[in-house]
Symmetry: C2
Subunit: 367 residues, 2 copies
């Protein structure tokens, strides 16, 4: 039997990512409300749907490996040059490529304890050493991240703003202040997957050519196209160009390129989706309050709801909600894991949540 290379041989064999479909198969029935993956049930722009449907028959063609049209449209949208943008198969893929480009085995990478696990998966996957800083007041802590990065000589520092899984956010000035303290050979990985849901003040003003930071954006959240796998990184042209050394050049889905281009052009739909998400956040907060729980403020399309109890209780509540047909998730690390994380969705799904949550709580209390 072939031997795995040393890094791969030392990686965990267990899979940290369990999708709702696996849970559905285990339960023998589909979820009635899918509120666990921060998907956007308000859906993609109808223009994007129409464009993808029209392009379906042409899927015998590979996609343009440069994603030229989408790259240029994104550059115009963000007010940067095309050389500042690399399109990829979602932020997850781009994070993997970035780690591969920058992290050698043994290099230190700093993140927050409880932050995005897929980033950690990539760092471990390339032999990097993760160093974690605690959340502070349910938010990532830019100054603590900075201090730890300086102390450890980290190559990368990961910060999501707004944050997943807590939904918290910082003012853009907190990000730029952090940047200003960063060592010259360190890079801030600024994951802005949820940026469209956040107040404008949360988006830091950083020159696209700034070599200290790479920003990540996606069509998976506000644009409602998670299954299409389209994201982009924005950064210094030299770093952006380096992705060409390692990326799967013909890896983009052709239909997704076309759909993302149409979605980007439909900013009215985006604004409407963001407004619907805002309304849904309010409704989730009301449902939480009706059940004696507290929704944390959120600048994302999900709400972290403080159960007022501990991680064991939250885990039982997640499981009880699954039994009631509602898929949600929860943070993995204390004290964040006193919360459950509920994705925004149209009213029919939130109606189901409103009915299921008290039943789930009762089933735990009774047990």
């Amino acid at each position: 039997m072939v031997r795995l290379a040393p890094i791969a041989a030392n990686l965990p064999a267990t899979v940290p990512f369990v999708g709702p479909e696996t849970l559905e198969r285990q339960a023998g029935r589909p979820f009635a409300a899918r509120l666990g993956a921060n998907e956007n049930g308000f859906g993609p722009s109808p223009r994007a749907v129409a464009a993808m449907q029209a392009a379906a028959g042409e899927v015998w063609k590979y996609a343009d490996p440069t994603s030229h049209d989408l790259t240029h449209a994104l550059a115009a949208h963000h007010g940067v040059q095309a050389c500042n943008i690399i399109v990829g198969e979602g932020i997850d893929a781009l994070l993997g490529l970035l780690v591969r480009l920058t992290v050698a085995p043994g290099d230190v990478v700093v993140t927050s304890d409880g932050a995005y696990p897929t980033f950690n998966f990539h760092v471990a996957g390339f032999g990097g050493v993760l160093d974690k800083v605690p959340y502070r007041n349910d938010a990532e802590d830019p100054q603590a991240l900075l201090a730890r990065a300086r102390q450890t000589g980290a190559k990368l520092v990961y910060l999501a703003n707004p944050d997943n899984p807590m939904g918290s956010w910082h003012d853009g000035t907190a990000i730029t202040a952090m940047l200003d303290g960063l060592a010259p050979d360190a890079l801030l990985v600024l994951d802005e997957a949820y940026a469209e849901f956040a107040p404008a003040s949360a988006i830091p003003k950083i020159a696209a050519d700034d070599p200290r930071v790479i920003r990540m954006r996606t069509f998976s959240k506000a644009y409602g196209m998670a299954g299409a796998r389209v994201g982009c990184a924005i950064g210094h042209p030299d770093l952006i160009a380096a992705f060409d050394r390692v990326r799967n050049h013909f890896g983009m889905n052709r239909t997704s390129q076309i759909g993302a281009l149409a979605a980007l052009a439909d900013q009215d739909w985006l604004a409407q989706a963001v407004a619907e998400v805002d309304r849904a956040r309010g409704r989730i907060a009301a449902i939480a309050a009706d059940n004696g729980m507290t929704a944390l403020p959120s600048a994302t399309n999900f709400v972290a709801v403080d159960t007022g109890r501990d991680g064991a209780f939250a885990r039982r509540l997640v499981d009880a909600l699954a039994t009631e047909g509602v898929f949600i998730r929860m943070p993995g690390t204390a004290p964040l894991n006193r919360c459950i994380r509920i994705s925004c969705a149209p009213d029919p799904e939130l109606d189901i949540l409103a009915t299921a949550l008290p039943q789930a709580i009762q089933s735990i209390t009774r047990a």
Copy 2:
């Protein structure tokens, strides 16, 4: 500026993959006939198209990270167990993951000089050392590959059967004979992207649990879904399970999963596409003969046409055909590069080829 990790820092900054869209933008007009990327212009099953169109509005959902339904359908189709199959974003992505799993920096990988460049890109991309064996009679040479692998202690040996870019193929018994000589810790990477076009005798009978080989299949060629990025690897359960250590778990396109499942179920369409491709191979051979050139036998959806001249002539012919609006490619290595490589396509595109080829030849001869 962040320093790249050593392997990435030493990779070429130039991009080896130029798509037809880049050439079209340079020329300022689209190609009239797209015959260069071994795409299948006979297109995907109408059932796959309909399934993808029906699923377009649901693209706000991530795909099932286990590709459960498609994996099980592929297992049934190939007569293996689900644990023998890993679905991925095309063979290109799966080859990258395989190299990452098995090749440590400095490990030797054996392939043929002129064979699939994307595999070489991945090997170099993870610090592997490529050792190349010449083609023999325009075909990859299993026994020479085997001998070189044994001599160098190679971790991986790559063999495409049928071969790209020559279209040649071996009987399955030549593959199994090669396997029998392989060192116990070496792995044969058997790229069967074009298997559906080949005679049944070309497909070796190898137990799915055989730890000496991993086979690659795709929806990009016979199934006509290159832009959808769906492929699979078939191999020993332990090796297949190892992909979970490094793959992008939520990387599959949801619509593509659904389309591939529908395409797999429509074997009548597949048979028809394979028959159309066979007819197109004959027509390309006739067009070649009309122009004093010789089509090589092919078990793929493309034809290598021997120009009877050298690589410089073939390069000029490829460029002259581009000027005439016809996109083709050519092998990169002598003596294979005396040929041009033309993808099979419906008659309207081959009509354009039939008109353009003599004009292109004349333009070179006149120059």
